[in-house]
């Protein structure tokens, strides 16, 4: 049996010939992503004597959660502190308001590449697996990684999810990823890598693959990988901050489990409260009234996501009882949406388009829900307490979210798609 790409990347990072699942390795990291490093800078102060991060080129800061613009003075002070301290400790890339969601930026701006090892303070840092980068969330320990450039990992077994077939009209990558997440369950991938493959996955763009990689954390997985292919290498052209050597699986890699899925007959899916992995057929919740709809977040702010929403919204109006927010993933994606006329479609439909940032996913800036409100969104998470206590949140594809905004209740989008 051959080695999986996860083991091969970790072996390379640890400068070892072979590693086996379950081994603890200490590796050099290629990128560190920080979304709210104020805590980490306070750790630096507590430690004392810290002069700078291990490599200013490899640490990236993007305070995307709280602030496309700070919502209050406390957050304004926090952002100011983050930027000041980032500069003081020699961090080169600090993304400002309106630049976008860190996870999209890390990939779009070439801070990661196929075969790289990255860690990030945000739990959805499994995202960069979409280009074959071994990326994983880490939190408190990031203080140490920022100083040493090294992190320890337990080498994982890999679950292979092989997805074949072509989806029906109105069924998007989010529906497929949502279905897969439901199959894995909330802890189905605990301490494991998940690799997504098969002809369906390789037919998708890098951004649509990212939905799978990113949602891996909602199944407890440590990494969510897609083996690099021509699409990946084409996408990476001129993008990476340094030359790189991709890592591929050996022939016949050793997987701990293989899940085979054919998407040909898959119907639209939805995550119901209170967990992202609680997947149901959309048909089971059709008709539920909503007060807010949201296209954006790190699983729904891509250009294709906005195209899907625009396809439904073109020539239609958002229901007057619903707030529809469209939040582009990055400034580049926003620019592309303007160029393609999508922003005009959203504006005419009565949606609110905001600058690129995390959106109301965690309700830290704008778009808060009132008690008793129901929201449907393309974002990754619907856990209780995340967006108020007495609220209920459904997660679905951009088609479904846009159609639901038009009808004022959860709606199968296929009625609007010719």
């Amino acid at each position: 049996m051959g080695r999986t790409m996860a083991l091969k990347i970790l072996a390379r990072g640890a400068k070892k010939k072979e590693v086996v699942p379950g081994e603890i390795v200490i590796v050099d990291v290629d990128a560190v992503f920080m979304h709210s490093p104020d805590y980490k800078f306070k750790h630096f102060e507590q430690i004392g004597g810290v002069k700078g991060v291990f490599d200013g080129e490899k640490v990236v800061i993007c305070p995307d959660h709280h602030h496309f613009l700070p919502a209050n003075q406390r957050d304004a002070n926090t952002v100011k502190y983050i930027v000041e301290q980032g500069k003081r400790y020699g961090v080169k890339y600090i993304y400002g308001p309106g630049t976008g969601i860190g996870h999209y930026l890390m990939v779009e701006q070439g801070h990661v590449w196929p075969g790289a090892i990255a860690v990030g303070s945000d739990s959805h840092t499994t995202a960069y697996g979409c280009i074959g980068c071994l990326s994983s969330p880490m939190n408190f320990e990031i203080t140490e990684v920022m100083l040493s450039g090294k992190a320890w990992f337990k080498t994982p077994p890999t679950i292979f999810v092989k997805i074949e077939g072509t989806t029906k009209r109105g069924v998007s990558a989010r529906d497929v990823a949502q279905y897969v997440l439901g199959q894995l369950g909330a802890d189905g991938a605990l301490w494991s890598a998940v690799e997504y493959g098969g002809s369906y996955i390789h037919s998708l763009s890098v951004w649509q693959r990212m939905i799978f990689s990113l949602l891996t954390i909602e199944a407890g997985g440590t990494y969510g990988l897609v083996e690099p292919d021509e699409t990946t290498l084409e996408f990476m052209k001129g993008r990476a901050k340094q030359p790189f050597e991709p890592v591929y699986n050996d022939p016949d890699p050793e997987y701990s489990k293989v899940i085979e899925i054919d998407v040909s007959d898959l119907e639209p899916q939805v995550a119901v409260p209170p967990q992202p992995s609680f997947t149901k057929l959309l048909a089971e919740v059709v008709g539920k009234p909503i007060q807010q709809a949201y296209v954006g977040g790190c699983t729904g702010g891509g250009i294709e996501d906005m195209r899907m929403a625009a396809e439904v919204l073109k020539g239609r109006k958002v229901n007057p009882d619903v707030r529809l927010l469209i939040v582009p993933g990055t400034r580049e994606m926003y620019g592309q949406a303007i160029k393609e006329g999508l922003v005009d479609v959203f504006n005419q439909a009565g949606a609110v388009v905001t600058p690129a940032y995390c959106g109301p996913c965690q309700q830290l800036c704008v778009g808060n829900l009132a008690d008793g409100d129901t929201e449907i969104g393309t974002h990754p998470r619907n856990l209780p307490g995340r967006a108020g206590t007495a609220t209920s949140i459904f997660l679905a594809s951009p088609y479904t979210v846009a159609a639901s905004a038009v009808e004022g209740k959860i709606t199968d989008p296929r009625v609007f798609l010719s």
Partner: protein, 178 residues
Amino acid sequence: METKIGTKIYQGKAHTFGDSINTDVISPGRWMREGLEVLKLHTMEAVRKDFYKDVTPGDIIVAGRNFGCGSHREPANSVMKVLGISAIVADSVARLYFRNGIAMGIPVFSAPGVSKIVNEGDEVQVKVTEEAVEVTNITTGAKVFGKPIPEVMRSVVEAGGILALLKAEMEHEKQTSS
């Protein structure tokens, strides 16, 4: 690595929770930046209102599968210390909550089956040795075992968390370079 930790024992009254207690429940986004003294008033409120009123220092949280899943938040670990929780033991623990807990010196353990042998209010003992994590329900006598802490974490645990360890390293560096 020859670091060794001795046997550590935590004992207290159990507060039981179900599966998938996530960090939005433990540390609601709305209250997270208001400081730990405020946050603790809201910890767990989405599943149990006014939880903080039930806690006496030294109490132990016993939970089901995947404790601490969801967003990664330091306050979700550190609020436990402020609440007075001495240890958390669950059927399984989300990877990052576990790593954070160890790095911060706030004990989090997994012991499969623990949620089946403990009821609310039982007296529970968690004994951590090099071989295992042993959980005993003092009230009923029932026992379950979890795997020991990975060796790489032992030096961190012994130092009382990563910051203490880094501080010691920095001081060592200062002394040797001057």
